[in-house]
Amino acid sequence: MSLDFAIKDFYRKKKQTYPYLFTIALMIALATFLIHFSISFNLNSFTDKTGDYLNSYFFSGVINIIYSQFNMIILIMIIIFIIVILSLIFSSFINSKKKDISIMKALGTLPQMLYSFYLVESLILFIIGYILGYIFGMIFYLIVVVSIDFLNISTFLFFDVIFTPVLFFVCLICVYIISGLKLKKIGKKNIIKTFSEDIKQDYESIYRLKRIPRWISSFGLNLKYAISNILRKKNRLYHYFITFSIISLLIFTLSLSSIVLNNTSKTWINHSQNENIIVIGHKDVVGNYSLMYEMYSNPNVLVDTNDINFTDENYLFNWSQINDIENIPEIEKIDQRLISFCDIKEKSITILIPPSEENPVGGYQTIGKDREGNFPIIGINSSNIIQNFEIEGSFFDESDANVNLTISDGLAYNYFDAPLIQKMNFPNLGEQFGIKGVVIDSFYSGHTAYIDIDKFRDMLNVSDNQINLLLLKTNSSCYNDIKEELDLILANNLGSNFISKDLNNVFNENLNFIDKLGIYNLIIIIFVFIVFVFSLFDLQKGDLTEKLKDLTIMRAIGSKIKNIRRILFIEGIIALIPSILTSFAGGMILTSLFLTDRIYLPSINIPLILIGFIFILFIILNYIVIIPLTKNIKKLSFRVATLF
């Protein structure tokens, strides 16, 4: 009987059921999309799944970690949002059945029977909504992934079999609990009280109205009605408040973090690359060196030890052979380098853990997994480095150049557990170095190490003063102006195989890659906005359906449609103001909690402008959704109104 009744009720009340179904589907679509998209974008910390890229180091450094962590917060917020909205939907769905439940109770239906009728219907509603949402979400995901492929953004298609089923069961349990509790509450309630509508039977209007200042009437009757309506129908106010708060919190936090993370990441990458850099060396070395920078933004590029032997004697040259370059006035700084692929190994260490409350005995802990790899190592003169790396720890200097080195973020996070207290071995060269600092770097997707050039020459048995790379920092983007002169010096002194190359293009590509990461947030913001518009439409529609009889009476008495729109509009605004303020506070706390210790904070004007923009946008949308909804009131007769 329960299933039969549930299906009949579900189908026959489709006008009321479909908006619920649509909202559920939209929420699930958002979650499905986000789960898949975050993995495709390599921004999901809950899984190690990455694209089957040639460049396995692609986007695996600190920027990826910060973006992933922040997006996990967003994903968790969205999941919480979905659960909250589902709770509100099912609470309001069961509430909409209150009258029928009261009738059934009056007829003698046992509470258990009531639960099974509407619990089955709630579960049917959720399951259909989930299936539709999953289909919508996957379609949207496929469209987005295929579309952004045209924008040259590297993503990969992925079909999740873990998170979406988990989401399904979490939501199912939530629906079961919320609907069950609500039904139990109504089931236990006095029948006569359940017959009363949204305003409680014992609502004390005289006492409550004391809290609404009487002078509000002087601002117009519409405002007074709106305030009275919203305060008397508190459930609806909570519904509006929770929905708007979470949506605006999501949009605000996403927008702010998008701006902040983009600016910060670009600054970091810009510092790691610098600007107006020209590289000089053998054409093979220069070509591969340039590609090794390109690896940051291109997952299909990989240079490894099989591609080039950097220490081939044909690639080595002496700075003194081309020191005429110093005479070019546009050149600000010269950085001599020696690059070579080397086998490296993480050195595990054992540390003593002092006794603590949790572990009163203390003990020993091993840090590290002795991971191994082959990466480019760059010999540099630490006092002459042209980059201004973002660094954790510090760069080695002359005093400790023989014992310490500095590694890049990708290597540090993927090959070391606690890099700053571990050591790095060069097993084939019989050397071991302490790690003094970790820099954020775009070179070789952040999988490199910087070592003192003299020490490196010793290790590689390269003759004194020999290098295979020369970096020049010019005072402006003047490569084309000095190219001829440079080429002439190189041709005359090193031969035609030695060339110069401006790295600005590849550097800009890396910065553009950071911009493209913003598309991820942008797509989520758009999706959340769509959810907002439909939620707003649904809320206003539901509200209007409940008030239809009252509004039709108001129309019959002579109220203009304009007045009705104003009442609905003001009600929306009253709920929006505290929501926006809450989301502003929440967004600022979230951003500062998770990002401040790592990022460059923008001026306070930016979040203020952002929240102002969101508020204005919400107000406009609030008005826009009222227009089509209220159009129908013009046509409604009393007969139609009574049907609701």
Binding site: M1, G108, D202
Partner: protein, 246 residues
């Protein structure tokens, strides 16, 4: 119609002992609290209704008639006092027992009809029969018979909102009779209905009376009052007059 006014309590009590008491109410009070304000809808009343008796409760609006009916029909619980229905003390029953009691013993006809909005006329009538576990074909057969009885054989498949007020009320009556309960309670069953429908409903009640159902109606309808065995005048939550009619 001959009416004996102001029959003293002793006379009434003697007559009752000869018949089974369907409803017995002692010191019944019902308060509604609205903040600091307390509305006493039923104020310390006691009464007895015999089996097969047709009782009309009349009084001005706001007198507490609906509250009294709700208490007698086990829809609401009293603030004080006791309600016995067919010897069972219903005022102390828990929710589940009350549900079973309502299902088996009473049929309530509401002023606002209260049909389940998503069920057709036939399904609305079948609903309480279904609850007692009758077979589907029996449910349908009884529902069809009852709908014929209320002169709605052709409206079986229609939803409440597709029916007129009078038709909805007739479906509500058919539903109240679905489990053939001994007690029928009706709250203004002919209010807001046209003359023809009201007349039809009156005839239905006449027939129910002939079938020895205990009927308690809150009404202002003179024609229904004509059918009464007893008239209870109710005002400000109190019985101001109890009149037996021969």
């Amino acid at each position: 119609m001959s009416i004996e006014n102001n029959i003293n309590n002793n006379q009434i009590s003697t007559k009752k002992k000869e018949l089974t008491i369907a409803i017995k109410v002692t010191n019944l009070t019902k308060d509604y609290e609205i903040g600091d304000f307390i509305v006493r809808a039923v104020d310390n009343i006691s009464l007895e209704i015999l089996e097969g008796e047709f009782v009309v409760i009349k009084g001005p609006s706001g007198a507490g008639k609906t509250t009294l009916l709700n208490l007698l029909g086990a829809l609401d619980k009293p603030t004080e006092g006791e309600v016995f229905s067919y010897g069972v003390k219903i005022s102390d029953m828990d929710h589940e027992s009350l549900a079973i009691f309502r299902l088996m013993n009473s049929g309530f006809i509401f002023q606002s009809y209260y049909l389940i909005s998503t069920l057709t006329a036939e399904e609305n009538v079948m609903f309480p029969i279904n609850l007692i576990g009758e077979k589907l074909e029996d449910q349908r057969r009884i529902a069809v018979e009852l709908l014929k009885k209320v002169n709605l054989p052709d409206r079986r498949e229609h939803f409440p909102f597709q029916l007129s007020s009078g038709e909805q009320q007739r479906v509500a009556i058919a539903r109240a009779l679905a489990n053939d309960p001994p007690l029928i309670l009706a709250d203004e069953p002919t209010a807001n209905l046209d003359k023809e429908t009201s007349s039809f409903i009156r005839n239905l009640f006449k027939e129910l009376k002939q079938n020895k159902k205990t009927i308690i109606i809150a009404t202002h309808d003179d024609f229904l009052i004509e059918l009464a065995d007893k008239i209870i005048s109710f005002e400000d939550g109190k019985i101001i007059n109890e009149t037996l009619i021969k």
